[in-house]
C-alpha cells in the first residue's frame, strides 16, 4: 500500500513538473513572437550577370549640359543670321531675280 501511494505521489509530482515546464516554454515563445527584433536591411543581391557585369558598371562621364551653346552665343548666331539674310534681301532688291531671291547664305541656321 505504501509503495502504491509513493508511486502515485511521484506520478502526480511528475505531471505537475511537466505542466510547469510546458507553461514556461509557451510563455517564452509568445514573448518572442510579440517583440520581433529588427532585422538589418539587406539589399537584394543583384542577379549574377556573368559577362555583362563590366557593362553595367556606373559611368563616370559628366552629364552633358542642357544646351549645346550658351545663350549669348545663340543670340549672336541669330544676329549674324539676320544680318546675312538682310544682305541677301538687299541683293535681291537691287537686282531682283529668282536665283537671288533664294540664294544661300553662310548662316549656320540654314546649313
Amino acid at each position: 500500500m505504501d509503495m502504491l501511494l509513493m508511486g502515485l505521489c511521484f506520478g502526480v509530482a511528475g505531471i505537475v513538473f511537466v505542466a510547469f515546464a510546458f507553461g514556461a516554454a509557451m510563455r517564452s515563445e509568445s514573448w518572442n513572437s510579440a517583440v520581433q527584433p529588427e532585422l538589418p536591411l539587406v539589399k537584394a543581391a543583384a542577379p549574377a550577370r556573368f559577362f555583362s557585369d563590366r557593362v553595367a558598371a556606373p559611368r563616370t562621364v559628366p552629364p552633358a549640359p542642357p544646351w549645346p551653346v550658351p545663350i549669348e552665343v545663340l543670340l549672336l548666331q541669330i544676329e549674324n543670321h539676320v544680318r546675312l539674310e538682310q544682305a541677301a534681301a538687299e541683293s535681291f532688291l537691287a537686282f531682283p531675280t529668282q536665283a537671288l531671291l533664294h540664294s544661300k547664305t553662310a548662316s549656320p541656321f540654314v546649313n
Binding site: 545663350i71 545663340l74 541669330i78 534681301a89 531671291l101
Partner: protein, 154 residues
C-alpha cells in the same frame, strides 16, 4: 550730313526742320525707346548706331533679338508719324554712344501745315524709307517661308 528724310529740301528748309528738334545723347547700350511706348518723337541719327530689336522667346527667356541697325543720316521711330503712334520695335544705342535729333510730332505737324511743300517732300522721303523696309522684310519673310516649306515637304 544729309538725312534721308530731308533729301530734296533746301539747306534753309532743312535747317528749319532740324531747328524743331533737340539733340539727345544716348549712352552706350541705353534704350532710346521701347516697343509699345507712345511714339511722340521721330529721331534722326547724327552719330553712332541704333540697334532695333524685337522680343523673342529664346530657351524660355524673353530676349531682345536683333532686327536691324540704323546709322548716321538714317531715321528711327517713324511710328511717330503713323497712327496709332506706338513704337513697334525697341531702339538701343550700340556699343558706342549715339547722338540723335528728336523731332516732336506736334511741332512737325504744325510746321508741315505752314509749309506744305516741305511736308510733301518729307512725306515722300518717308515713303521711300518705309517702302524699303517693307520690301526688305517681305523678301526676308519669303526666304524663311521657302525654307519652312522645304523642311515640311522633305
Amino acid at each position: 550730313m544729309t538725312h534721308e528724310l530731308l533729301k530734296g529740301l533746301s539747306s534753309a528748309e532743312a535747317e528749319q526742320v532740324l531747328g524743331l528738334g533737340t539733340k539727345l545723347i544716348v549712352p552706350s547700350r541705353t534704350k532710346l525707346f521701347r516697343l509699345g511706348d507712345s511714339a511722340d518723337r521721330l529721331f534722326l541719327i547724327e552719330r553712332g548706331r541704333i540697334r532695333l530689336t524685337l522680343p523673342m522667346q529664346v530657351r524660355g527667356r524673353e530676349e531682345d533679338v536683333f532686327v536691324e541697325e540704323r546709322s548716321p543720316g538714317q531715321a528711327v521711330g517713324w511710328s511717330a508719324l503713323i497712327p496709332p503712334y506706338r513704337f513697334t520695335l525697341t531702339a538701343t544705342a550700340s556699343l558706342l554712344e549715339a547722338e540723335v535729333i528728336a523731332l516732336p510730332r506736334e511741332a512737325l505737324g504744325e510746321y508741315f501745315a505752314d509749309h506744305p511743300a516741305v511736308g510733301y517732300k518729307i512725306a515722300l522721303n518717308l515713303a521711300v524709307v518705309i517702302g524699303h523696309r517693307l520690301q526688305l522684310f517681305q523678301t526676308m519673310w519669303l526666304r524663311e517661308m521657302q525654307r519652312t516649306v522645304e523642311v515640311r515637304s522633305a
